[in-house]
Assembly symmetry: C2
Homo-oligomer: 338 residues x 2
């Protein structure tokens, strides 16, 4: 008697206990002694008992299922899908299923956050697009399930985070512009509710400071992470600061907006104003001129988040994974085209 | 003793049977008499016993969970995500969970397709991106679970389909070009493995025929649904057929490629060559000139698929849902800008 036809019933019989006791042993219930638990697990191993997926969810702690919580769908939000598909693919290789559980807006309507993983039968949660001002953000400090946050971190013994090195990425963008001969570089940042906005601002400061360039805080304004915000910010910056010859934007969408604004003012890119974005979304390749940017490797982000969850479930401490950002030089920042 | 704290244990105790028997009663196992089953269900109802989701999957026929099977992730494939998010949102309102179960490539490695819904505890499946040449496509004819196919249809009493009216959409695109004064309109079609390619070709023929315009089959070539394919096709068409003044493309991605090819030949859009795409993906708004296209309402597609699955589970016959395509006029097809 060995192999895949073995049921929980067989384990109970051989161990001389009830089915419920076997289930409780797998489930790590505290009302069962450690010696009984060990005895049962030993018998189960000897028989080659492999609980099926649903039986597993009832009997053991593991559901072999992870959830991802994403932002509400917004046009141009395809980047989330790329992260999810990488997350899904890695988890599938690890023997886990993955679901898009909710949006960050919907999940915040839930009163008791910690109930979610149990009710939805998931072992861990990967959360994208949370804002520092979200009520939910504070609740996560006492979240009792393995969790990975994207682009934001939190103090909790069960929360990991994954994100690109934003300081380094922003510094790379600005250093690239300095190398092209620019000194008066403006910065269109995202809104203040995102942790990345502060980090990218630090990267901007750092690159200028390293080269001994003057920092003018009037050249830093918010574009709110939107196309229109980027456009308005660019028009304002160029109108008020004739000395500006380059603009670094904290997102590609804002950079595309900025480019439209610059073109409508009758200026040329990169001859009059050079532009660099951040993210490397698909649009970069299709706009005219093609947009230089800092790539966030979304495939790596999704896979890393998946592995972090699996490792935490296997007992590893949470970690902060930093993905190396890459400068992708296209046409919007380099005067002499190859 | 009533309400949410009632467990299967309480039902078993009150009914005077084992926990396993309660589970088997809910699970409709045949080794339990109908009278015992009714007795147990009555007790359960009296106590207000509500099995949790996993218990439900073990015990009742419904999992309240639907799956979507998507194409492997490809750059620029964000449209799938928009459909999924609408599908997810509608199902959530209907009390169903939704998961991205697999990709069409992965699912085709599965030997017995019909086992999937049972093993994955889903009530129905929505499949996107299936090709007519896929082995899986034939297997679906005997698929035993409610299923909705996107952009492709099949004969099976449990399969619905949802898709845009491709004939009408293509005809609208070509009629728009005719209205702009074009008579020699080329067509860059997708590959032959997609049902939509045949339908869009029919729409192209129909619009020309209705206006009594000459149909020249040499003006129809394949761009394989890719950016590079569209670019090559446009360069070839214009090189070989100087009379062509407009190109209709069966996808926006091919249209963007065609526009790049046209611009590299030193020609102007729309002055020398007008271009119209199909899909209305996000890129249309960012390319120069902005791309005129036929919109597929992805929000509606996702929601319709969700409702079709729920209705089939509730006993309705499968249906073929046709979504009305919309002409979105931008800059690539209209000489006099507003």
């Amino acid at each position: 008697m060995q192999g895949k036809n073995i049921t929980i019933r067989d384990v109970a019989k051989k161990a001389g206990v009830s089915i419920s006791t076997v289930s409780r042993a797998f489930n790590k219930y505290e009302d069962i002694s450690e010696s009984t638990r060990e005895h049962i697990l030993k018998i189960a191993a000897e028989l080659g008992y492999h609980p099926n997926i649903v039986a597993k969810s009832l009997s053991a702690n593991r559901n072999y299922r992870m959830a991802i919580i994403v932002e509400d769908y917004m046009p141009d939000d395809y980047a989330t899908y790329e992260i999810f598909m990488a997350f899904r693919s890695e988890l599938s290789e690890q023997g886990y299923e993955s679901i898009i559980l909710s949006t960050t807006t919907d999940i915040q309507k839930v009163e008791n956050l910690s109930k979610i993983p149990h009710e939805k039968q998931v072992d861990g949660v990967f959360i994208l697009g949370l804002k520092m001002t979200d009520e939910y953000f504070k609740q996560l400090e006492s979240f009792k399930y393995p969790c990975v946050l994207y682009d934001i971190s939190i103090k909790n013994d069960l929360c990991s985070s994954v994100g690109v090195d934003n300081v380094k990425g922003a510094a790379k963008a600005v250093e690239h512009l300095i190398e092209q001969g620019h000194e008066k570089i403006a910065f269109i940042n995202g809104h203040e509710d995102a942790q990345v906005s502060y980090e990218r601002l630090d990267g901007y400061y750092l690159a200028l400071a390293r080269q001994g360039l003057l920092i003018d805080k009037n050249l830093v304004i918010s574009g709110g992470f939107s196309f229109d915000g980027g456009k308005e910010a660019a028009v304002k910056l160029i109108g008020e600061h004739k000395e500006v010859t380059a603009i670094f934007c904290a997102s590609d969408l804002m950079a595309c907006g900025a480019m439209e604004g610059i073109k409508e003012m009758g200026l040329c890119i990169p001859e009059d104003i050079a532009v660099v974005g951040f993210d490397d979304i698909n649009i970069c390749e299709y706009v005219t001129p093609k947009l230089t940017t800092i790539r966030q490797e979304r495939d790596k982000i999704g896979r890393t988040a998946a592995l972090q969850l699996v490792e935490m479930i296997n007992g590893k401490s949470p970690a902060r994974s930093i993905i190396e950002p890459k400068l992708i030089v296209r046409e919007s920042s380099v005067k002499i085209k190859k």
